[in-house]
């Protein structure tokens, strides 16, 4: 699956798309693939504050739980309610329909420090080499 060029990516495998001071956050295709069939997602309520680098929720498969880390700081303005009934969306469309939360950023400029798509693809390719070695 292609990694959208307009997104930025974290080392913990989240993506963020920023428009003005509004951002949409999700987990990457690589993350959903590593996790396997997603069965449950736990997300913060609108109004909650999230802090860059800190966990704001979890995503679960049958036998694993993964924390989701905030790529940037801000206030949650909307969460993707569809995922409660259809967690499999995360496996099917991680970069689109399976967005997790929308956030009003405190400092939109800070996301410049995150990886762009080519850097992230290089990063996961490198990680893949490590594990198979």
């Amino acid at each position: 699956m292609a990694y959208p060029k307009s997104y930025r990516y974290t080392k913990e495998h989240e993506w963020i798309e920023v428009k003005g001071d509004l951002a949409t956050i999700g987990i990457t295709d690589h993350a959903q693939h590593e996790l396997g069939d997603v069965v449950f997602v736990e997300l913060p309520k609108p109004g909650a504050k999230i802090e860059a680098g800190k966990s704001f929720g979890t995503v679960e498969s049958v036998k694993a739980v993964s924390e989701i880390y905030a790529p940037a700081s801000g206030e949650v303005i909307e969460t993707n309610g569809e995922l409660q009934n259809k967690p499999e969306t995360i496996n099917n469309d991680p970069h689109g329909a399976a967005w997790l939360i929308k956030v009003r950023l405190t400092n939109a400029a800070a996301i410049r420090d995150l990886m762009d798509a080519p850097a992230y693809e290089a990063y996961i390719a490198e990680k893949g080499k490590e594990t198979s070695a």
Binding site: D37, V39, F40, E60, S61, V62, P87, E88
Partner: protein, 508 residues
């Protein structure tokens, strides 16, 4: 059927629905003697708003249907009584039947925990003798039999450590736990109010002493260590580890899950452990019963004795025994009504059957594990090569090349008539196969197991599909765990109340 499958043959077993689906109003399986006092009218005695008109949905069936229902269900289980159950870390040994008999005796099973202690001396003597035996086996100074299971034993042990440190002015912050540990260790530490620091094992799967020296500070309350480790390897440096901890005022907690490798050979108390729990349902043969009940006594050094949970068993003048409910320094009570007494009775019956010969059981357990290791080494990858004690951990590295993983091999083992080994644990071995035969297996049974494992390795190389789609002979095949977790159906409901999601595709 495959000629390599020597242990098992297919046989018919009965279909059986849920008990609720057999229910029909008016059938009954139980009758009470007639009431010999005037009947109280519930509405008058209770008041109308406290009264209930029967339990909606409760089954109504006859006695023969109850017997057949549960007997049929039972035939769908594998069990130690049917054959080897080599679940690593679980110590699935023979559960002697005499233990069941004595636990059900009139005067044992019938006793009430609040009856006067002068009418409970038999129960208290059983507790006392078990305490003495376990202290002798562990080399510790004091013990509590109260915890209901291993996990509660762990918690009790950590609370003892916490109380001891608190008494000295500072309960400290952190508990160190090796990455090879069982998941309960960190979960327990958190409930005891500690932060968990996971520490990496060295390349032999052992505690890295130099690293430990750096990690143990005045902030560390304890190290929780399993010995032998979950790799089945004896931790050689336990006395040194204890010294490092003690030098900084911290204590050593030993998880006794693997005591079946040590009983009668060496004693954790002599090795420097300050506190440990025992899983009576592992080492001391009380039945697992499909997942409990267990019991998790905690043995400790003198310094922790005064903090034990109440009630405390004490010997009074003239040898009379008593349970004392109040102790000023006690961590409190961890469970109502003293203990899982019925489980303790069974454990004592087991110990009495062996006496000092418990050593022979340990030797045979280690012999079986090494025999299996010898025959499967090379057939399966052995990631850590130090000597094995009571269990051996292989990995699926060789079979992975053909796309076959430890879970596939485990499932295929079912077709060969065996319960699988423990899969994917310990976490430090990717694709682990953790095999613990216990002393209860004959050479013949071990040979059959070895034969099955070799045959599966061969299949994995030549026809991996048959392994990847196993089991092929069970009444249900691989189950949809993803569906079960996404849309949980956790109880039966009458058809009218059921959603379509619950019934679709389900047929018996």
């Amino acid at each position: 059927m495959n000629d390599n499958i020597k242990k098992a043959k297919r046989h018919v077993n009965q279909n059986e629905g849920l008990i609720f689906e057999k229910s029909s109003p008016g059938k009954r399986a139980f009758e009470l003697p007639p009431l010999d006092v005037p009947k109280a009218e519930p509405s008058n005695a209770l008041g109308a708003h406290h009264r209930r008109e029967g339990v909606e949905g409760f089954p109504e069936v006859s006695e023969i249907e109850v017997i057949r229902h549960f007997t049929r269900l039972s035939t769908w289980n594998h069990a130690i009584d049917l054959g080897m159950y080599p679940l690593g870390s679980c110590t699935m040994k023979y559960n002697p039947r005499v233990n069941e008999f004595v636990a059900r005796l009139e005067g044992i099973a019938t006793e009430h925990p609040y009856q006067p202690q002068e009418l409970s001396q038999g129960c208290l003597k059983i507790l006392r003798l078990l305490e003495k035996c376990l202290l002798e086996i562990t080399g510790m100074d004091a013990i509590t039999l109260q915890p209901a299971a291993g996990a509660q034993g762990e918690l009790t042990g950590l609370l003892l450590i916490r109380a001891y440190l608190q008494k000295q002015g500072n309960p400290r912050k952190r508990v160190l736990i090796p990455d090879s540990a069982h998941g309960t260790n960190p979960a327990t530490a958190v409930i005891a109010g500690y932060e968990v620091e996971n520490i990496k094992s060295n390349e032999h799967g052992q505690m890295d002493i130099e690293n430990l020296q750096k990690l143990v500070t005045e902030d560390v309350a304890a190290l929780m260590i399993t010995n032998p480790s979950t790799l089945g390897i004896y931790e050689q440096n336990l006395p040194e580890i204890a010294q490092i901890l003690h030098a900084k005022g911290a204590l050593l907690y030993m998880d006794g899950a693997n005591m079946n490798a040590l009983a009668g050979i060496t004693r954790p108390g002599d090795l420097g452990a300050d506190v440990m729990h025992l899983n009576l349902h592992k080492t001391f043969s009380t039945p697992h019963g499909g997942g409990g009940p267990g019991a998790g006594p905690v043995a400790m050094k003198k310094v922790l004795e005064r903090f034990r949970p109440v009630p405390i068993l004490v010997e009074k003048e003239g040898g009379r025994l008593a349970l004392e409910p109040v102790r000023p320094d006690s961590i409190g009570r961890v469970k109502a009504f003293s203990s899982n007494f019925g489980v303790l009775v069974r454990a004592l019956a087991y110990i009495l059957a062996y006496g000092p010969g418990v050593r022979q059981a340990t030797e045979d357990a280690v012999l079986n594990a090494n025999y299996i290791r010898r025959h499967l080494e090379g057939v399966y990858d052995l990631p850590y090569s130090l000597p094995s004690m009571h269990e051996v951990v292989f990995s699926d590295a060789l079979q992975k090349k053909n796309g076959v993983n430890t879970m596939d091999i485990a499932k295929r083992l079912i077709d060969y008539g065996f319960h699988p080994y423990t899969t994917a644990f310990p976490l430090i071995v990717p694709g682990a196969l953790m095999i613990e035969p216990t002393e209860s297996e004959s050479r013949e049974e071990c040979d059959l197991f070895i034969g099955a494992m070799k045959a599966i390795a061969d299949e994995a190389a030549r026809q991996p599909e048959i392994v990847k789609t196993a089991p092929h002979t069970t009444r249900v095949r691989r189950l949809d765990e993803v569906g079960a977790a996404r849309k949980p159906v956790l109880r039966w409901k009458p058809a009218a109340q059921r959603s379509t999601a619950q019934t679709s595709g389900a047929r018996d």
